[in-house]
């Protein structure tokens, strides 16, 4: 009796906690509302299964508890029941998988009009690079990294000259403009994680990973690292802002390009070299 009761309380308690819990996901800031919908769908299906099965267990524990003289049934198999359970379960699983894969296809299909934004992670901070006026990012390589070229941009590549490099400052994105986030690391694994974006992906030294999204809500968001990257992992923070078109245009006009930075550096060095 007591055991069955505890099981029932556990089921009710879990459902009540779920419904009234103040802990829920952050308001979304991108187009990936499908992901939230998929989580909701999964909660409905699995929650239903959880409640039904546990209540059934509680019922069995109560109804068939040991009594003097009770004789358990002898039923090794029941093919019909087992077949039905297999079918019902398969249908439930397919109901989760099919829409999931459908949305995954959208997630891995980057739209043509997406602009590229590069995020570079290193222990323990973020840098960013935007393609500049030509709309194309220049190539880059970890082996080219130096004090003057913190992102390892290829100086020979003409596309790289007008790239905008943002080091130690916030990233801005324009609302409504799909972006392909190109992710790069110069030391260990990191993961560019903004909870409100929903999407996330590891950054792996030696390769360029990516995901795409369309920012939909103007605001300021925290950037965290979601892949263990050493002792500073929890402190590897940044900020990304989703701007209106006007704010974005204003911000981008104030940024310096790779070419300007190199010239600045050269001038600085020349000045230092002067007697």
């Amino acid at each position: 009796m007591g055991t069955a009761l505890v099981l029932v309380i556990l089921v009710i308690g879990s459902v009540v906690f779920h419904v009234f819990s103040p802990w829920w996901w952050t308001p979304i800031a991108t187009n990936w509302v499908f992901m939230d919908n998929m989580i909701s769908l999964t909660f409905w299906i699995t929650g239903f299964v959880y409640v039904v099965i546990l209540l059934f267990v509680a019922y069995c524990v109560y109804k068939f508890r040991y009594r003097e003289g009770r004789v358990a049934a002898y039923e090794p198999e029941n093919n019909k029941l087992e077949t039905w359970l297999t079918i019902v379960t398969s249908v439930g699983v397919a109901a989760l998988l099919a829409p999931g894969l459908f949305v995954w296809f959208q997630f891995v299909t980057v739209p043509e009009d997406a602009t590229e934004v590069e995020v570079v992670g290193q222990q323990w901070g973020w840098s960013f690079r935007l393609p500049g006026a030509d709309g194309k990012l220049g190539t880059a390589d970890n082996r080219l990294i130096s004090d003057d070229n913190i992102l390892g941009i290829n100086p020979e590549d003409p596309y790289g000259q007008d790239d905008i490099v943002i080091d130690g400052d916030d990233l801005h994105l324009a609302v409504g403009q799909p972006v392909k986030m190109l992710l790069r690391s110069i030391d260990v694994l990191h993961n560019f994680y903004v909870p409100e974006f929903r999407a996330k992906m590891d950054m792996v030294p030696g390769m360029i990973t990516y995901y795409w999204m369309e920012p939909t809500r103007v605001g300021t968001y925290d950037v965290l690292c979601a892949e263990l990257c050493g002792t500073g992992h929890a402190y590897m923070r940044g900020t990304v802002l989703i701007d209106t078109d006007e704010d974005y245009a204003l911000w981008i006009s104030e940024q310096t390009t790779f070419a300007e930075m190199s010239t600045d550096k050269k001038i600085e060095l020349t000045n230092l070299g002067d007697p």
Partner: protein, 590 residues
């Protein structure tokens, strides 16, 4: 007697193998230390596994101290926090659960349950334990070397695992970890081959594969998985050792560490992840399948009813085992591997949910129309059903690639895998200890202490891990010693974290009750007799309790029936042991 469709064996077959003379120990050392008796080796394995598990338990309390009450304890820095997390995870998964289920329960139960006098290779069995013991010593030694143990996370992902930004990365910590794993795998391979050969070759007459108790099926299949999966980890550990010590670049691309260009180049960090999870996912089932098997036997015995759908249960175990080799990259949805892998691995992962769900149904349908004795082993089995169901269902979130993207690397994942491969198997381990302790010692564990132990452990664990999912939903990442300032994390998360920590301490302290029960009952427990649970399987039918050297008397038992003849209509008792020719013998006389 009802006709059991899958249990037709017209006559007992003749013995395939002659009885082999056992190694007879003559002194204390060969009897209890360098023992070749599987039962002693089982106790050695279990003793070491549980001891090192207690270290992991203490580490988990330290983790919860930090998460529940950040900035209160000066000795917990990010460095030590990551070391605690790493060692806790590795110990629990490999050195506790794998060693306890296979080395502990496997050694004790396989020979007894299949009606054999010992393992096929007793000497190799002994070596297996001692190499495991050495692996544990190397692991524990890493706590005492300069720089301490590795803090790379139990997944040991390169490049950070062997670089200076990670605790132990440039010291001895990571080297000892990798060496210890390699030793563990060598030791396990010896034991594992032994278990497989024993099950295939040494079953007593009449003990067909389809008459094996599900405990043996679970341990047997898990062992096969381990034999196929651990080599991938061995390869990965050796290659990473080379990368660390010889500056090879198997897993290391060219990279710049704090401004310094390192000499590495051309390696792939993702290759390591594939190797690791090619081992790591079957590893989940290496822990789960023995738990599935054991819990089936506990439920059947204590509900006095045959397990429902035995053949389905066997094929589900085998099917899950096979599928577990083609789902590994669901741990890598956000790793940057080719996105089209997502379609394949999400599909295989969700398919594996079907046989797993069938097992859950069959446990519950075994309860249906049973005569349920709410003994401590039965309570732990019910606790397993709840936590495993919970963890299995959240697996449907994380297995479905698009749902995993937002939840990956958050506390939701931590809650999920603790529920499904932490709490659930450990509840089975505890239930199994209450169940088989009488056979191992001849005395019962104290039932009242056992019930208290169960309720605190079960309810406490649920209160730890159920709310933790919601911290993950908020978006809180895992492996953060403190949350710091982030606009999306409300202050209430800290309150919930403190609550979870208090629940964790309660569960931790409750285990003292269990240890007290174990040691006290050795002398003061009620004498159990040979078969206190009135169970059918052969280990309960031995002439001595605890079973003597050679397990059975002068004659090996013969097997006449499947292991689940409980409450057979027309039988005088509510159970028919497997070696009972019974009123209507299926097998005929020997």
């Amino acid at each position: 007697m009802a006709e059991i469709e899958n249990d037709s064996l017209p006559i007992l077959p003749p013995a395939e193998l002659e009885e082999v003379e056992l190694y007879h120990a003559t002194n204390f050392w060969t009897k209890y230390v360098f023992s070749q008796d599987a039962k002693i080796i089982a106790i050695q394995y279990s003793g070491v596994a549980i001891s090192v598990g207690l270290i992991a338990l203490v580490l988990s309390s330290l983790i919860r101290l930090q998460l529940g009450f950040p900035e209160m304890f000066d000795f917990i820095t990010p460095e030590t926090y990551y070391q605690f997390v790493t060692m806790h995870g590795m110990i629990m998964v490999v050195y506790l659960l794998t060693a306890l289920f296979l080395g502990g329960f496997g050694n004790y139960l396989i020979p007894l349950m299949i009606g054999a006098r010992d393992m096929a290779f007793p000497y190799v069995n002994m070596l297996s334990f001692w190499i495991y013991f050495l692996a544990v010593l190397v692991l524990v030694a890493s706590f005492f070397v300069p720089g301490g143990p590795t803090g790379a996370g139990w997944t040991l992902y390169p490049p950070q695992a062997i670089l200076s930004g990670t605790p132990g990365g440039q010291g001895l910590g990571i080297i000892l970890m990798l060496l210890s794993l390699a030793l563990f795998i060598i030791g396990f391979t010896m034991g594992g081959l032994n278990y497989v050969v024993t099950v295939l070759q040494m079953r007593t007459r009449g003990m067909t594969m389809m008459r094996l108790p599900l405990t043996v099926w679970g341990i047997f299949t898990a062992t096969v998985l381990a034999l196929l999966a651990f080599p991938a980890l061995l390869v990965a550990t050796v290659m990473m050792l080379f990368d660390r010590l010889l500056e090879t670049s198997f897993f290391m691309p060219s990279l710049v560490e704090f401004g310094d260009h390192l000499s590495y180049g051309g390696g792939s960090p993702i290759l390591f992840q594939h190797l690791f999870w090619f081992f790591g996912h079957p590893e989940v089932y290496i822990v789960a399948l023995p738990a599935f098997g054991i819990v089936s036997d506990l439920i059947s015995t204590h509900a006095r009813k045959n397990i429902f759908g035995y053949r389905m249960m066997v094929w589900a175990i085998v099917g899950i085992g096979a599928l577990s080799f083609i789902v590994w990259a669901h741990h890598m949805y956000v790793s940057g591997m080719h996105p089209y892998f997502g379609f394949f691995f999400a599909t295989t992962t969700l398919i594996i949910a079907v046989p797993t769900a069938l097992k859950v149904y069959n446990w519950i349908l075994t309860l249906w129309n049973g005569n349920i004795h709410l003994t401590t082993p039965m309570l732990f089995s019910l606790g397993f059903i709840v936590t495993f169901l919970n963890g299995g269902l959240t697996g449907l979130f994380l297995g479905n690639v698009i749902v995993d993207i937002p939840l990956s690397d958050t506390m939701f994942v931590v809650a999920h895998f603790h529920m499904v491969m932490g709490v659930a198997p450990i509840l089975v381990v505890l239930g199994a200890i209450y169940h088989w302790y009488p056979k191992i010692t001849g005395r019962m564990l104290d039932e009242r202490l056992g019930q208290v132990h169960f309720w605190v452990t079960f309810v406490g664990s649920y209160l730890i891990f159920f709310p933790m999912h919601y911290i993950g939903l908020v978006g809180v990442p895992r492996r953060y010693p403190e949350l710091g300032d982030a606009a999306f994390i409300p202050d209430s998360v800290a309150t919930l974290n403190s609550f979870i920590s208090l629940a964790a301490f309660t569960v931790g302290i409750a285990q003292i009750l269990f240890l007290y029960n174990i040691f006290r009952s050795l002398r003061k427990g009620q004498p159990s007799g040979h078969n206190p649970w009135r169970a059918t399987t052969l280990e309960w039918q031995t002439a001595q309790t605890p079973p003597g050297h050679g397990n059975f008397g002068p004659e090996l038992p013969l097997c006449y029936r499947w292991p689940y003849d409980y409450s057979v209509p027309g039988a005088s008792e509510d159970f028919l042991p497997q070696n009972d020719p019974g009123p209507i013998a299926k097998g005929g006389s020997a």
